[in-house]
């Protein structure tokens, strides 16, 4: 049966469409092709209106990637607009390749987080590696030298047959790329949960450093200016399902069209150096990396932002393979490529730099005044699309959503074992064991500016050549987000803020990576909306604006969605590098002080989940005013040099946090408190642990009282063991052995 063409299909509603095709495609677009490009009938109708005629296949491909969820944010845009994005120190918020904040002394920090979930599930090493490569490009494209990487990883249950292989590949891939490029990976997260069995999450963040008055943007300008392509050649990589629409389908197709890209960190390193060298000259009008949807997305975004047109000469695009079609060239996601608009007459100067670094350089087009995005092959026009509508007519959906049901209150909890036993089980389990096995595979000391390496609250890197530092953290507690999206969204933000505060830094701004299931399901959309609202409120209350981010939807396999996972990455500034705190206990005989109120909230805690197998109850309440008050108090103690030892309390509660401090400093602790699991393992928010010389404890306690901050002494440091309420001590070496053993043992058979 001959397929109905889209033209027939739509003839009734668009009788006025011009007949025939002006462009090279002989074939009419079929409904099957429309569907294979992930476009709905309505979206296709809009395309017909925008074009005023039927598109050819290349044009259809261009529309499909530009209007994909990934590039158009069609399900999330409406809600993203509600996020706070401004503050006096924000130089550039969402909308560019990355966010930019002023960090003083003429410097700016440029940062963003991005997901590479799907590719990492298919090919963990290359998926993760190219994820790191992509986010690095987003940052150096704006003129920054990348100075730190972070990675937030979520895997399925440890028991799942695939998990070990995925952990091994992803970690090797993150390291393989970042280590080679020479950017330290200074922190991140690793979670395990069965909800990620079929959809792991690989979120990578990069922070870069630039001169505040030398930021590069992506808006093309200057009619007639040359458009230049640099980096690696274009191959047939990553032309996703969309290629299925192509007609030349044969036995070799599988072989020719890998859906996973292979990263080349060596070329990326050269590209960073070459771009930064070019940026030091006065030649660049606009610059943009080629990420998702490659040449298409970068060209269209540059043209749209500049309100201009762009003419591309497809023949000039450096190609790795013979016989690539315009469709393939335009949709390829080959890595390590950039697009640059140069000032006229500077081509030779720019080319010399890329030659020196042995990278491809080609003038592939020019800026035009037509407002159209046009491609030519052998002089013949192969696509011709008006830029504005391609961007502005992109679909936007206010998808239906339902609010998540409030969780039932947590019933009674009977402690299954003694507190010290529980502590050992938790520290030696999948959720809370040491992640050293992961971060020792990452070069975290290259660049020689790492002040606090992974393993603490926030990482600290020195701002090169100065006595100031940046604190960086990523966080999210998906089980809270699942139980109560609104609270969970806010909690992710406050935990980042708290981690930055706990080292003494002043929190400045955040980036997000919003990972959710299928937004066409109202309950998933409800999770999304709830989390966004929580994030927005927290950011507002803490003056912690969102300056960049990324949305990853459809993380779902066979109707099984991931836990809602709005990963948050934040940065803060240390005005005096020396005045920072670390979690490791430093002295014997220090007073050990708990800041913040302890209610003993066990709902959705690790204690409940791991030891009792219960995912129940509400998430711990987040009181933004209290967070701010307690955090500001702690920070002032650190920045005035009164304390140097501090740790925030999060997953696992007070006793876990205390044990981490003792293990890190190799100094024991004697603790006194209520004999109740809620006290030791509850996950109440807005809390910190401090250690300071006994002689100064009274002053700090009274200062806390003046500030209205709950504070109490709960122990004293010293010895080589951890002791609780006069119980049997556990030696730190035994604790450390358990804490360090889980992950290496688990990974042994990888």
């Amino acid at each position: 049966m001959a397929a109905l063409t889209a033209r027939h299909f739509l003839a009734a509603s668009y009788p006025h469409l011009p007949k025939g095709l002006a462009l090279s495609n002989e074939q009419n677009i079929t409904p099957a092709q429309i569907a294979e490009h992930g476009l709905t009938t309505d979206e296709y109708k809009t395309i017909l209106t925008v074009m005023g005629r039927e598109p050819n296949l290349t044009e259809l491909g261009i529309f499909s990637v530009m209007w994909s969820e990934h590039c158009s944010y069609k399900s999330s845009k409406f809600w993203l607009k509600t996020l706070p994005t401004e503050a006096p120190w924000v130089i550039c918020g969402p909308g560019e390749n990355a966010g930019v904040v002023d960090i003083g002394e003429g410097k700016a920090a440029i940062f963003k987080m991005e997901s590479h979930n799907h590719p990492s599930f298919i090919e963990p090493y290359q998926g993760a590696a190219t994820g790191v490569g992509g986010i690095l490009r987003d940052v150096f494209t704006m003129g920054a030298r990348p100075i730190a990487n972070m990675n937030a990883l979520r895997f399925g249950a440890p028991e799942d047959a695939k998990t070990r292989h995925l952990v091994s590949g992803v970690v090797a891939g993150v390291g393989g790329y970042g280590n080679c490029v020479g950017v330290p990976t200074v922190g991140g997260e690793v979670n395990f949960d069965p909800a990620y069995n079929g959809n792991i999450l690989v979120n990578a963040m990069t922070v870069g450093l630039a001169d505040a008055d030398k930021i590069f943007y992506s808006a093309a300008a200057g009619i007639g200016n040359p458009v230049v392509y640099v980096g690696s050649k274009t191959g047939r990589d990553g032309i996703h399902g969309a290629t299925m629409a192509s007609t030349e389908f044969d036995d070799t197709t599988e072989d020719k069209r890998p859906t996973v890209q292979v990263g080349d960190p060596f070329t990326e390193k050269l590209l960073i150096e070459a771009c930064l060298e070019l940026m030091a000259t006065d030649t660049i009008v606009a610059i943009q990396d080629m990420g998702a949807a490659g040449l298409t997305c970068s060209s269209v975004e540059m043209a749209d932002k500049g309100g201009v047109g762009l003419d591309l000469d497809i023949d000039k695009v450096p190609q790795r393979e013979d016989g690539m079609t315009p469709y393939e060239v335009m949709l390829s996601e080959s890595q390590e490529r950039m697009l640059i608009v140069l000032r006229p007459g500077t081509e030779a100067q720019a080319e010399a730099i890329f030659d020196k670094w042995q990278l491809d350089f080609a003038v592939v087009g020019k800026v035009s005044d037509t407002g159209r995005f046009t491609g030519r092959l052998g002089g013949e026009v192969v696509f011709d699309i008006p830029v504005r509508p391609l961007v502005e007519e992109s679909p936007e959906y206010e998808r239906p959503w339902v609010e998540a049901e409030a969780p039932a209150p947590l019933g009674s909890v009977t402690a299954p074992m003694g507190h010290m036993e529980a502590l050992q089980a938790l520290l030696g389990g999948a959720d809370l064991s040491s992640r050293r096995w992961v971060w020792e595979q990452y070069d975290h000391t290259v660049m020689a500016d790492t002040v606090r390496k992974p393993g603490g609250d926030a990482a600290i890197v020195r701002i090169h050549g100065s006595d100031r530092g940046l604190a960086i953290a990523t966080d999210c507690t998906p089980r809270y987000c699942k139980a109560e999206p609104h609270v969970g969204g806010a909690q992710a933000v406050v935990e980042v803020w708290r981690n930055i505060t706990a080292v003494g830094a002043r929190p400045l701004a955040v980036t997000d990576c919003l990972n959710f299931g299928n937004p066409e399901r109202p309950e998933i959309m409800g999770e999304f909306v709830g989390c966004i609202k929580g994030i927005g409120e927290a950011c507002r209350a803490l003056d912690f604006p969102i300056v960049s981010g990324n949305v990853s939807l459809y993380n779902e396999t066979d109707g099984q969605a991931i836990l809602p996972t709005p990963a948050i990455g934040g940065i803060g500034i240390l005005d005096v590098l020396e005045a920072h705190a670390d979690l490791a206990l430093r002295r014997e005989g220090d007073a050990f002080i708990l800041i913040g109120a302890t209610v003993g909230h066990l709902g959705q805690s690790i204690y409940l989940r791991q030891l009792l197998g219960r995912a129940e109850g509400p998430a711990p309440a987040v009181d933004l005013a209290v967070e701010r008050r307690n955090g500001d108090f702690v920070r002032s103690l650190i920045s005035t040099g009164r304390i140097d030892t501090c740790h925030d309390i999060s997953d696992g509660g007070l006793l876990v946090a205390a044990a981490e401090m003792a293990m890190a400093g190799d100094i024991g602790l004697t603790l006194t408190g209520i004999d109740d699991a809620g006290f030791w393992f509850g996950e109440d928010q807005a809390r910190y642990l401090l250690a300071l010389p006994e002689s100064e404890a009274a002053a700090v306690l009274s200062q806390a009282e003046d500030a209205g901050v709950p504070a109490q002494t709960i122990g004293i440091t010293g010895g080589e063991a951890l002791t609780l309420n006069d119980g049997t001590p556990i030696s730190l070496s035994e604790l450390r052995q358990k804490h360090e053993a889980w992950l290496p043992n688990y990974m042994q058979n990888a």
């Binding site: 080679c180 060596f266 050269l270 790492t450 020195r462």
Partner: protein
């Protein structure tokens, strides 16, 4: 004193070592007059007292670590200067390049654990009678970070004993006395004879896997690597 740092495509510790050298030679991290950055494609080099091959992933560590850099135009000049007795220091990838270029014996293979390893290690100074190590005591232990994937030093057995006789072993990995953490192997990569660094016969060329420039400033949490650079300054200035 003048030092020259060779920049290969993919070097990524060139700036780090430049900063540490500037501090050691000129007393200020931003005093770059005493450190020349030399491009791998150049075939000539100004007069210099010390040549440093920095860490990194030159040519992505593709094929073999250091293999492609060892064939760079500048390496002919480095070999010539080394023959004249100019001091040459190779750190991590630089060590790999020096073995590939034949300036040091042996080869560096992928770590026995097949994983990249980044952590502090403890190394023992085996020979303090050299321009690189005169500020240390023999037997002194240092805490310095390593960060490499291909750090397993290999050399044939007879060559190894000849090297031992000639005092060519510069540093050996040893157990960390402080934390006494016996669960961790002192030797992070399976190097033969626990070797972390070696000299040429004349002790004018040193290659080592640990990164002294990452233990050269108080913010690094230790400064045990700094003395390697100050040894050179006192020997060569």
């Amino acid at each position: 004193m003048k030092a020259s740092v060779i920049v290969f495509p993919g070097s990524n510790c060139d700036r780090d070592v430049q900063v540490a050298l500037a501090a050691a030679i000129g007393g200020r991290t931003d005093n770059n007059d005493c450190v020349d950055m030399v491009w791998h494609g150049d075939s000539e080099m100004a007069k210099t007292d010390l040549i440093v091959l920095p860490g990194g992933f030159s040519y992505g560590d593709y094929l073999r670590s250091g293999a492609m850099s060892a064939r760079s135009p500048i390496m002919r000049e480095v070999v010539a200067r080394a023959e004249q007795g100019v001091a040459v220091l190779g750190i991590c990838n630089g060590f790999q390049v020096l073995t590939e270029a034949g300036l040091l014996p042996g080869a560096l293979l992928p770590n026995a654990g097949l994983k990249f390893v980044c952590r502090d290690v403890q190394v023992r100074v085996e020979n303090s009678q050299t321009p690189f190590t005169n500020a240390y005591e023999a037997g002194q232990t240092l805490r310095i970070p390593v960060a490499h994937h291909d750090g397993q030093y290999f050399v044939e057995a007879d060559e190894l004993s000849a090297m031992q006789e000639r005092d060519q072993i510069a540093f050996r990995y040893c157990q960390d006395e402080k934390t006494g953490d016996s669960s961790r192997r002192a030797n992070p990569n399976g190097s033969v004879d626990d070797i972390a660094g070696v000299f040429n016969k004349r002790k004018t060329v040193l290659g080592l896997m640990p990164h002294p420039e990452r233990a050269a400033d108080a913010i690094h949490g230790g400064t045990d690597g700094q003395a390697l650079l100050s040894s050179l300054v006192s020997a060569l200035a």
